[in-house]
Symmetry: C2
Amino acid sequence: MSDDPIVAIAGVTGAVGAEFIATMDKRGFRVGKLKALASASSAGKRLTFRGQEIVVEELTADSFADVDIALFSAGSGISRKFSPHAVRAGAVVIDNSSAFRMDGNVPLVIPEINANRIRDHRGIIAVPNCAAITALVPLWPIHKVNRIKRVIVSTYQAASGAGTAAMEELVESTRAQLNGQVYPPKVMRHPYAFNLFSHDSAIDPETGYNGEETKVIHEARKIFEDEKIAVGVTCVRVPVLRAHCEAITFECERPISPTQVRDFLTGAPGVRLVDDRTANYFPMPIDATGNDDVLVGRIRQDLSDPSGHSVSMFVAADQLLKGAALNAVQIAELLPQRAMA
Amino acid sequence: MSDDPIVAIAGVTGAVGAEFIATMDKRGFRVGKLKALASASSAGKRLTFRGQEIVVEELTADSFADVDIALFSAGSGISRKFSPHAVRAGAVVIDNSSAFRMDGNVPLVIPEINANRIRDHRGIIAVPNCAAITALVPLWPIHKVNRIKRVIVSTYQAASGAGTAAMEELVESTRAQLNGQVYPPKVMRHPYAFNLFSHDSAIDPETGYNGEETKVIHEARKIFEDEKIAVGVTCVRVPVLRAHCEAITFECERPISPTQVRDFLTGAPGVRLVDDRTANYFPMPIDATGNDDVLVGRIRQDLSDPSGHSVSMFVAADQLLKGAALNAVQIAELLPQRAMA
């Protein structure tokens, strides 16, 4: 692979697609040529990357000749259909969808946790689910020192996780309600203005957990390489635009104090403490938006566990950045060929 | 006390004050005379109760002559200052503030749980915190059968809990943001439009829990009359107008299944199951708004507890109704003198 790789983005017109471009630009990621790919309906649209106008092309099986790195964020159906073509053409696929995450041949990577797994790839590297990334980045520095046995997570997930159309629906349905108008939901299953609802992925009839929750449970085990970590999670969509929050309670094998957690997280990669009790200032979506770090605060002993093995905290992260595009570009930066350059 | 008691409302111009009136009206609560009390700045305002115009009077130490029942919802400072006067005048105070909740001489009552404690009152009966009521109403039918040892709650609390001005701030700051205008927060500590934040009550420096969370922890023990129930709770304010939601995970002394929980809650007083996995339809603030019941759904085994002693669920309740005004009027309906009538 060249030092200036040819990069293709599949799903370039989506919410994450736009952040792929912005993140590569911001981080000075070297790109020889950018191929902007999307569905036929978006072909011909124009966008700008580093001052150059780029015309969006239709994503086809033949899109990947000469491509070194293919960033996919167009849903798992598109990833399943087109990433084999990209791999056959010699590209490394970094896939933001759920298509291959639990595939034993596909590394599932959060660089702050398991960058070492990148070298195992056979053409595809998967970016974890955004709710999983948001929880796992700040849990890892603790888990490394004092194994986490059990985690209970409640999410406060933004519209961005459901794409640009969902963000627009939140804005437009809220505007309608403020103007006394009725807005029938089009993208989301339920009214979104000043409302919240259980994540609208399908429910597993056996467990009662929805698709999003099931991803968090399984991906935590794979990324931590700990088949025994027990995760309970409730995923909820709230009327916030683009940063996810999570209330997390975790239980360690040995006793753990809030002071220890603060020590483990201070300076940990991808983590920023926002935990000012006097000013009542803690992680918020508006502060996480546009921020690369997972913000962590409300660190305190979990009073429901008198054994002193449990701590609670509240975290926030930009779903489109660390939850998606940033994590993907971080992986691209660590691809072996580039590291050797 | 007469069958048609003289009822005073202290804080009649607030969000809960308005719901006291609406709830008494809706439930056909017999009222001989209604005294509408508020601060001096609201005196002279007019409101309507059962077709009659009532003039708001300034709340003073002398407001309670002849009053049988005094409903207070004007903050704990006002309750502390004026309810002793009401009691001395012979009224029964039903107080929606936190002023007396943990007082050993004051019953803390959710009628569905401990109506029997009403008779212990010495002039004051306290209405629990709204987040506590929302969690405890659906936990009680389970706790009665299979003792709950541990509860972990994450709240999604509406603006209404911070009063009418907070609801207005949510609306107006959202309108401003949609119009591209800056809205400096006046009532809340943080920007509220499309944002969420940790409940802005003061943090206990010893535990790290905020005031709202501490209320839930202590009130659960008092209402369940179980000093050992261990509660961990994270209270979060979300951009929703008037119904609270909560993600609840609880651990019982003996194994418990989602089917058992569903059985215990079916037909339980104050509870309505909204748990349609096929339609992905679960409790939402917009459905809880104006509804007397606590809506309960997402009932499933907690996968983080392999022992099978834990279940998770998601609940929603109208903060101004069951979380405040309705619970108070239910207590008034059960006052001994009325029950004997």
